[in-house]
């Protein structure tokens, strides 16, 4: 028998088999494999095996289908081989095709019929399974690295784009605000357009940064007990000019008793503002938006009910997708990157809550932010 080039100096192997004789036979085969040092451990009990697997002490696992009252498939279901870097190889007394299929379904690295096991076959199976897993791991790490550099690139590029755009903002802003003397109406109109375009660019940069942070898992929340009634009243104040500009009304209904939620105030303020501002943007002039806060013992809910263009029920899932923009009569006018709602949902989910959207009773839509208390 030829020597195998295996990737590890010593292979730590765990046999999980309730039949001591079978385990003994396997040990004998393994000790006869040339060119490899094995450290073999045997466990016959299902529960004990689960515990031992959780220790991450082995490089490869041989799992028998029959484990007393339980089965090897049940074991795979619990340990989830796809989430592990070590291969799990299934064995069975009979070469059952259904069992083979089932083993693959639960991500076993390979399947052996006990009757056909010999040293050569066992060695091949073990080495290839280990090697495949290691390749998989390397590829996974490469992908992680690639993703990291993508996030980093977006972050660096976006931050750097901000500086020149801030310069444009300052200088156009100064001329517009009369720092360089009087300007004509026509000049003002042109400068306003330039200023607004630049503002849009800055918003896109901010959106890209937000998504890069979410996708990189770099969002950290600093939570504290926040009085939701006060937060909402504050948001109403800060967004009131947006509504009055369009002759729209913003109506609030708050419970008498204080509602306290354990949240990151800055982040949740941005989430709620985002939804409230959208309610104005996607509504015609003269409409009314309602904010309603209510709570029970476990959660607080903030409903934002608008009389806007509404969302076609078919497109409701798209609202919270990354870069997902839903076409409606106002969408071109409003502009945007399709990131605000994706980000908002992620933030609420990080709080252990959820955002949902439903069509309004007669028109518009109802966004609900549900937060655990």
């Amino acid at each position: 028998m030829s020597k195998f080039n295996h990737p590890l100096d010593q292979i730590r192997l765990l046999i999980i088999d309730d039949d001591e004789d079978d385990a003994y036979l396997l040990r004998r085969y393994i000790s006869a494999i040339p060119g490899a040092v094995f450290k073999v451990e045997w466990i016959g009990q299902f529960d004990e095996a689960i515990e031992r697997i959780a220790d991450h002490d082995h490089d490869v696992y041989l799992v028998d289908y029959r484990l007393g009252e339980r089965t090897g498939i049940e074991l795979l279901e619990i340990v989830r081989p796809s989430s592990r870097i070590e291969p799990f190889i299934m064995m069975s007394g009979a070469g059952d095709r259904d069992l083979l299929r089932e083993s693959m379904q639960y991500d076993a690295a390979d399947f052996m019929t006990k009757g056909s096991i010999n040293e050569e076959m066992l060695a091949k199976t073990l080495f290839y399974a280990i090697q495949r897993k290691q390749m998989e791991r390397r590829r996974y790490e490469e992908l992680l690295e690639l993703n990291r550099s993508k996030d980093e690139f977006i972050s660096i590029a976006s931050h750097q784009l901000r500086t020149p755009a801030t310069g444009v903002k300052q200088y156009i802003g100064m001329v517009r605000e009369g720092f360089a003397g009087k300007i004509t109406e026509q000049q003002r109109m042109m400068l306003d357009k330039a200023y607004e375009s630049n503002e849009r660019q800055l918003r896109i940069v901010s959106d890209l940064l937000k998504v890069a942070q979410v996708d990189a898992g770099k969002v950290s929340l600093s939570k504290s007990d926040v009085k939701l009634c006060e937060l909402i009243q504050d948001i109403v104040k800060s967004t009131s000019s947006i509504f009055s500009e369009k002759q729209q009304r913003l109506v609030v209904s708050l419970p008498k008793k204080p509602v306290i939620a354990y949240i990151d105030e800055t982040t949740m303020r941005m989430v709620i503002e985002n939804i409230v501002e959208n309610a104005s943007k996607y509504s015609e002039e003269g409409t009314t938006t309602r904010i309603k806060l209510y709570s029970d013992t476990t959660e607080a809910t903030i409903d934002v009910i608008d009389q806007g263009v509404g969302i076609n029920p078919e497109h409701i899932d798209k609202v919270f997708e990354k870069f997902g923009r839903v076409d409606n009569p106002l969408s071109t006018k409003v502009g945007g990157t399709g990131i605000g709602m994706y980000w908002a949902k992620k933030m609420v989910e990080l709080h252990g809550g959820d955002i949902t959207v439903m069509p309004g009773r007669s028109r518009g839509s109802v966004f609900s932010i549900i937060l655990p208390k």
């Binding site: 500086t163 100064m174 720092f179 901010s206």
Partner: protein, 126 residues
């Protein structure tokens, strides 16, 4: 009303100049530095300014490095406003921990808002 003194610490020349023009036109005395090291040197010979607008990412010595050397607690009459386009939470939190009083995203502040911020700080003191 006493004329307020402001130190602008900003490495981007176009922005530094813009902030200078805006603040001077509003009648404030403005000192300028292009990085943390320069800011420390400017401050050595001057009396404490009322406000420092401090960028975070700068060559030679960044904003965090400046805060570590400057010890804001020794200058109780100076309000430090971190004025940065890097809104990474960790960095902003560190600046606060080192004694910065406020954080403003540079990209948000139009010229008028810059003056509002200054008026707010000065007004609160009087």
């Amino acid at each position: 009303m006493k004329k307020a003194t402001i130190l602008v610490v900003e490495d981007d020349p176009a922005l530094n100049e813009a902030y200078n023009m805006i603040l001077r036109s509003a009648g404030y005395d403005v000192m300028t530095a292009y990085n943390g090291q320069e800011a420390l040197e400017v401050l050595k010979d001057a009396k404490d300014p009322d406000i420092i607008f401090l960028d975070l990412r700068m060559p030679v010595m960044d904003g965090i490095g400046f805060l570590k050397e400057y010890h804001p607690e020794k200058h109780p009459h100076t309000t430090i406003i971190v004025f940065s386009n890097y809104d990474a939470r960790a960095e902003v939190d560190e600046a606060y921990k080192l004694g910065a009083h406020r954080y403003v995203l540079k990209a948000r502040a139009a010229p008028k808002e810059l003056i509002h911020i200054v008026e707010g700080v000065i007004g609160a003191r009087q």
